[in-house]
Structure formats: C-alpha cells, structure tokens
C-alpha cells in the first residue's frame, strides 16, 4: 500500500508539480514519427502471422508487438 501511494505521488508530480518539464517535441514536429514506416507492425495481418510462426516454435512468449492468445498449436 505504501508503494502504491508512492507511485500515485510520483504520477501526480509528473503531471502537475513538474510544470517546468515541457513536452519537447511539438505537434508540428511529428510528421516523421507519424509516418507509417515508423510502425514496425504497420500491417497487422502480417505481423500477427509472423508472431504466430515464432510463438509455436519457441518457448518464449509475451511482451511482443502483437498480443498473443487463442492459439491451439497442438
């Protein structure tokens, strides 16, 4: 509970107290970031398939760009 309070305080500070910390990339500077090539999973149908190929042949799972779950893969 103590740790939870700390987390809430920290979040509040970030959003209110630290007013000197301003977003340093302005909206009009984000054209490159918004370009589809900046999204490694820009084609969901393809990214989902490749995720499935690896998921069924490796023990590692989770924390990917695509959410897993629902695979029988027996």
């Amino acid at each position: 509970m103590r740790n939870m309070s700390l987390a809430l305080c920290l979040a509040s500070l970030v959003m209110t107290g630290c007013s000197s910390l301003e977003p340093w990339v302005k909206p009009y500077e984000r054209a490159n970031l918004a370009d589809p090539i900046m999204n490694p999973a820009r084609d969901a149908v393809s990214a989902g398939y490749l995720h499935h190929v690896y998921e069924t042949r490796e023990s590692a799972r989770g924390a990917g760009t695509v959410s897993g779950g629902g695979c029988g893969c027996n």
Partner: protein
C-alpha cells in the same frame, strides 16, 4: 502482480486528468493474406483475412478469419505415429473505443482444431499524456483451452485429455525521445494451470509427444511425457524506432524471457525500412536463443526416473536465426472509387533452427537409420516462410 497494480493506479490518475482529442482509432482497411511455412517436414498454409471498419467516430470493429492447413511428417510425428493432416481455424472479433486520449479494446478469439479448442477474451487500455509524447498501456487476457487426442485406430474419434486456463497480464510504456526517435518498454506475465481429464496424465504437454530413455549406444525407448500442471513466465522487451534523414526507418528490439520451468531466452531483432517511389522495402534480421527446461533431456536413464520428464525440442537448448525481406507496392494512392489507397505485398523469411541437445532420433529409430541410439547427430533444419497479401484502405 505488483507492477500491474501500479499501472492501474497511474492509468486511473491519467484518465482523470481531463483530455482532449489526440489518440486515433486504427485505419479502416481490409487485408487478405496467403501464408506458407515449410520446414522440418512440416507444411502449414492457409488464408488470413482481416477487416476493420469504423462504427462511429468513437468506435471501430475488426474481424479476423485465419486458417492453418497442416501436413506434418516431422521427426516427432514419424517416431510417435504416422504423418497426419489437420486444419486449425481461428476467428477474432474485436472492438476499439476512443475517448479523448484513451483507447480501449476488447476482443474474443476462438480457435478450433479437431483435437484442440481455445477461447480467449482480451481487454486492453492505452492512455496518451505529457503532450502526447508518452503512452502507457496495459492489458489482460484470459484463455480456456481443451486439449484432446486422437484415439488410436480411428482418425476421427478424439478424447479429452486436459483443460488449461491461461492468464496474460501486460503493461507497456512508450516515449517520444526526439522528433525522429521513439522508445518502448513492455512487460508480460503469463500463467498456465492445467487439469488432466479422463485419467490421461496429460497436463501442459502435447499428448502425442514422448520422452526417451535408455542406454546411449545401445537402446532408446519412448514413453508419454510428464509435465508440471502449472507454468508462469515473465517477458520484458525494449524497442527503439528511428527515422533516418533520407526517409527510411530502423527498428531494433530486445526481449528477455524467463519461466518457472527454468527456461531463459533472449532475442534480438533489427529491421530496416526503405521507401522507393511507390515501393516500400523491408529487410530484417532476428536472433533467438534459449536454455533447456529443468525437466528436459534428450534421453533419460530409465523410465519414470523423475516426476517430470520431457523431450520436446521446443524445451531444449537451441538457437534460431531469421533473415527476411518484404516488398510492398502501393497503388491508387490518390483514391479510386470507394478505395482510398491499396498495396500489394510479398514477404519471405528463412529461419535456421540449430538444436544443441536434441538429437535426430530418426537416425537410429526410423527405417534406414544407421546411428547408434542416444548418439545420433544433433538436429537442425531450415524453414521458409512466405506471405503474399493485398491491403485496401477505404
């Protein structure tokens, strides 16, 4: 699940901050894909169709229909039985809801095979803040699986072997670093709990797979695998995306993984995306390595030596290396009828699997095999993965 509770608290606070329009719903588009996997005497082909449509300015829905047609004559299958063919169909219905800088999604997935049914419901929430430079995400999924097995001598009769409950907990954070760079962090914990059905002894294992025991150089015998009933895994990933000055992009990723079975793995990925006129070219490299599970051995000393015994190559020590490229051709970029734009795409990957302690038992057990049992060469194989798809935005 302490990290999960922290994220709920922070996310709640962020949502209460008051919002303005920033986040967006996914594009309205339809994708029709043909996929093919060929490696280790396993062929898997089939279609995948993904349709996404906006319902209103705040709601979007998606539907994915995916099928695997599987033909398998892999070493496990040859030693444990005979080659087989089967079909798996997976359908996912999803909804996305946008409110200010918050996006929520809910989806339901049903996967059906003749010997494996899986139902999964998933919920996720994403919140932009700090001038939209930061995004926090979290998600939860719950899956229910029913594992069956073909009853011998009758390829159409199956019996339930185990039920598996799976829970996924996900959190993520992404940050715009500069006007050309972003960083992302993700964490996911997954838990499995299985119950045997019909006194099968099957838990989280594949009922068709066997462990091996015997005397190296003399004999190799097989018996049904014995797995634990539970598994918990943790994975953490770090991703970086960078936009190059000449309109190209680099993506780098690393994932750390560990589970309660003693498996540790790392994977690294690097990709380069380069648009040329109406084309977009992708080149990618991925390296994966893992250590074996505590209860894995290529060959045990004798039957029932331990409580848990497995010989799945997926639980062994191995590496895999992938090289791939994709080419996309964009057409109707200025619209055509109801179409906003479209693309034709082709993708090829070659994956090399290199096993460090899983021997090719077929070299001693299959017809024509000349190796001594337990002393066969370690196994390796290449797999080719092909995708061809068309995408239409409307």
């Amino acid at each position: 699940m302490r990290i999960f509770r922290y994220c709920i608290a922070v996310l709640s606070l962020l949502i209460l901050q008051g919002v303005s329009q920033a986040a967006v719903l996914p594009d309205e588009r339809v994708d029709a894909l043909y996929h093919s996997y060929d490696g280790g005497d396993v062929q898997v082909t089939g279609p995948s169709v993904l349709v996404r449509k906006g319902i209103s300015t705040n709601w979007s829905t998606s539907f994915n229909y995916y099928t695997d047609y599987i033909t398998s004559a892999s070493i496990d299958v040859i030693i444990g039985g005979s080659p087989y063919e089967e079909e798996r169909t997976e359908q996912t219905l999803g909804f996305d809801y946008l409110r200010g800088k918050t996006t929520m999604n809910l989806s339901y997935t049903k996967s059906i095979e003749n010997d494996y049914d899986a139902d999964t419901i998933s919920f996720g929430i994403s919140q932009d803040f700090f001038g939209d430079l930061s995004t926090i995400t979290m998600g939860y999924a719950e899956g229910s699986n029913l594992v069956g097995q073909r009853v011998s001598n009758n390829p159409k009769v199956f019996e339930d072997r185990a039920s598996i409950d799976r829970k996924n907990y996900r959190v993520g954070f992404s940050q715009v670093i500069t006007k050309n760079a972003t960083l992302g962090f993700g964490w996911e914990t997954i838990t499995d709990e299985a119950a045997s059905l019909n006194n099968s002894g099957v838990t989280l294992n594949n009922p068709y797979r066997s462990y091996s025991f015997g005397i190296p150089g003399t004999s190799r015998s097989f018996a049904q695998e014995k797995y634990p009933k539970t598994r918990t895994s943790n994975a953490a990933s770090l991703r970086a995306n960078y936009f190059l000055p000449f309109k190209a992009a680099i993506h780098a990723e690393y994932r750390w993984f560990q589970d309660s079975w003693g498996i540790r793995s790392d994977n690294y990925g690097l990709s380069y995306v380069h648009p040329i006129g109406d084309w977009i070219l992708d080149f990618r490299y991925r390296y994966y390595s893992q250590t074996k599970a505590d209860f894995y051995r290529d060959m045990f000393d004798f039957a029932d030596q331990f409580d848990f015994m497995a010989r799945d190559k997926e639980l062994s020590t191995y590496t895999s290396t992938s090289l791939g490229f994709s080419a996309s051709y964009e057409f109707a970029k200025n619209g055509w009828g109801f179409i906003d734009k479209g693309s034709l795409n082709f993708s090829y990957d070659i994956i090399t699997f290199d096993y460090k302690d899983w021997r090719n038992a077929c070299e001693s057990q299959c017809a024509g095999g000349t190796a001594s049992p337990g002393l066969e060469p370690f196994y390796s194989f290449d797999a080719e993965v092909i995708q061809a798809f068309i995408s239409i935005w409307y």
